[in-house]
Symmetry: C2
């Protein structure tokens, strides 16, 4: 399978990884990038865990000058200041941007894993990331930052590595998936699986589930942004006639349809469908309530986590990870003894606001990190 690895990506060979839901992963690796310099006493490390689709190239760095997916947030003098922090961003286990996942070669067979990849949990994603951090000689992170799926994986990281992070920023994350989000992701997975070209995961570059991936991505983009933003951005604007196919009675007509089409085209051949299925399902499965003592609730599960300071940021227009989920994270971490703050932001851009509304997210992140001791 094609993998999509940014230039300059570094790799960490993982030791044998016992997966949460069973099976052992051997010979796997994790892709990561770094920014800034690790202090001699190794106390200035910041780890970023990403959403479902990004690679490890969060921003331009010494090995790759191309802008990254969080370019405005990370770098010298930026909110996550690489003059001050040694920043690590990993590509999630199970992804296809350099880390081992269902699209990678199974060393036991010499063929891609496809659906033979063991069932993936966000706990496994966290364990693999923790292995990268340990390999760099870092015992304790100054701050663990997780966005979206990475916000869930960050909670798993704190759970499986007690005392591993002095502080934590959880951005548009959740402690467990709620049924609306499960329904959306289930439908995205179904779109891929219903595409005859998916072939139970045995597609190739020629017979590829393009239609299913297109549907999944469009549904994703619809739920990543917000109706409010689109009212102002697209309204009812029509495409120019030269961009319409008048032979197709149900073809693209409105600007918003063209926007979705563009997003889908850029994505469908740049992300492996089986990896998408695995990562998507891992989000549905994750539930901090599993870790509550004595069958307690999700807050009790969160309260088992050890972190000194925490900031949970959410956005009022997010329909996929709604605001009450970030409030719950702050409440739960506070119940566990953290100095935890919940910060709701009025961004119009929905779930993806952290990628684009740097005017709101930048100062919030900078202020929190500014108070983190070195």
């Amino acid at each position: 399978m094609t993998e999509f690895i940014p230039a300059g990506t570094r790799f960490h060979e993982l030791p044998e990884l016992a997966m949460k839901r069973g099976g052992v992963l051997r010979g796997a690796r994790l892709a990561y990038e770094t920014w800034g310099t690790l202090d001699p006493n190794r106390d200035n490390a910041v780890l970023i865990l990403t959403g479902l689709s990004p690679d490890a190239h969060a921003a331009a760095n010494a090995t790759n000058a191309e802008p990254g997916w969080w370019e405005a947030m990370l770098g010298a003098g930026k909110p996550i200041d690489s003059n001050r922090w040694f920043v690590i961003c990993v590509n999630a286990l199970g992804s296809c941007k350099g880390s081992t996942g269902p699209a990678s070669i199974n060393p036991d067979t010499g063929e891609p894993y496809r659906l033979d990849f063991p069932e993936l949990s966000l706990e496994d994603v966290a364990d693999a990331a923790a292995s990268v951090v340990a390999s760099l000689g870092i015992e304790r992170l100054a701050c663990l930052i997780g966005n979206s799926m990475g916000g869930m994986a960050a909670l798993a990281y704190l759970l499986r590595n007690p005392g591993s992070g002095r502080s934590h920023i959880n951005i548009s994350g959740s402690a467990r998936a709620l049924p609306f989000s499960i329904a959306i992701r289930s439908l995205q997975r179904e779109a891929i699986r219903l595409d005859p070209a998916w072939s139970h995961g045995r597609y190739d570059e020629v017979h590829y589930p393009e239609a299913g991936m297109r549907m999944a991505r469009k549904l994703g983009v619809i739920t990543y942004r917000s109706a409010l933003e689109w009212d102002g951005r697209f309204g009812r604007v029509r495409l120019d006639s030269d961009r319409r196919d008048d032979e197709d009675p149900f073809g693209l007509e409105f600007a918003v349809e063209s926007y979705l089409e563009g997003h889908a085209r850029r994505f469908v051949r740049r992300f492996d469908p089986n990896c998408y299925l695995y990562l998507s399902r891992s989000m549905d499965w994750f539930d901090m309530a599993e870790y509550a003592p004595d069958g307690g609730d999700v807050l009790a599960g969160l309260a088992t986590l050890q972190v000194e300071r925490a900031l949970a940021i959410g956005v009022s227009t997010d329909i996929l990870f709604p605001l009450q989920q970030q409030e719950q994270i702050a409440d739960g971490l506070r119940a566990g003894g953290a100095d935890a703050t919940f910060l709701p932001l009025p961004s119009p851009q929905g779930h993806d606001a952290f990628l684009v509304d740097i005017a709101r997210f930048g100062p919030a992140v900078a202020e929190f990190l500014g108070a983190v001791r070195r």
Copy 2:
């Protein structure tokens, strides 16, 4: 094509219908049902225009004792009281529940219209409904009630038939589609069209776009209900193991997935895919701003409508026809001289609340109708 016509449905043969976007429909008919008795002076008629999928059987009546889709709302002593009102409900032009649409036989060819059906607008849906009303000898409706798509068609009805309604209840409707709703519907249509069995509309019972219809329906149900309702109703409940297929690694696992699957199964063979495409597209096209004098806005378009009293009801959890759209309808009708009220309801059930939250919708409708003169 199979049509799905409730027992006891009546039919009105339409005169030649000049379609808004071009073409003439000949030999078409509209399915409708009635409740109650028309007064000798014909001033107690109430017309109900439906959402996309319902038939004309809104409730049990003399010709069909089966419960209808609005059973709790319509009948003797109910909020729409058939002891007082002569109630008509029509199946929309373009649908497949007895009215002529893309699944019907084209009299010119003896074959189903399929994609040769002329482009359908909600203005055409309104014209066809008005023809039924006229055929019953009714010059002026006591009240015109429209739900969802029917709320849009009701505005078209008032537009094309000035003075045709003394009062109007618009339920979870809108004066024009916004980009989020367009995006959702566009994706539903794409799911059907991407299904190879759709065959540009030339499917049959054997080669049928079942996967596409399943996707479209599930996406519909997700946007018809609300995340809030599902949190309480489903949470993270798993299906019992005997209802799961452990051979399918991405099969149904959560109760919410099973709920969607059940809805999809009941729908996919009970609604014609081409009819779905036509009606869905007609909602995207409708825009009251087209009718504003001197290129005015949507409020100016609404202000051209003539009605004495109006009630626009919406629901705070509706993401498909959000509350500001019903407020806009009330504002616009008021600007046109109507005594118009906007009633936002805190129903947790989202867009479909009018079908299920009778505790809130029933009294609101009953109170409004109670003040309508006969």
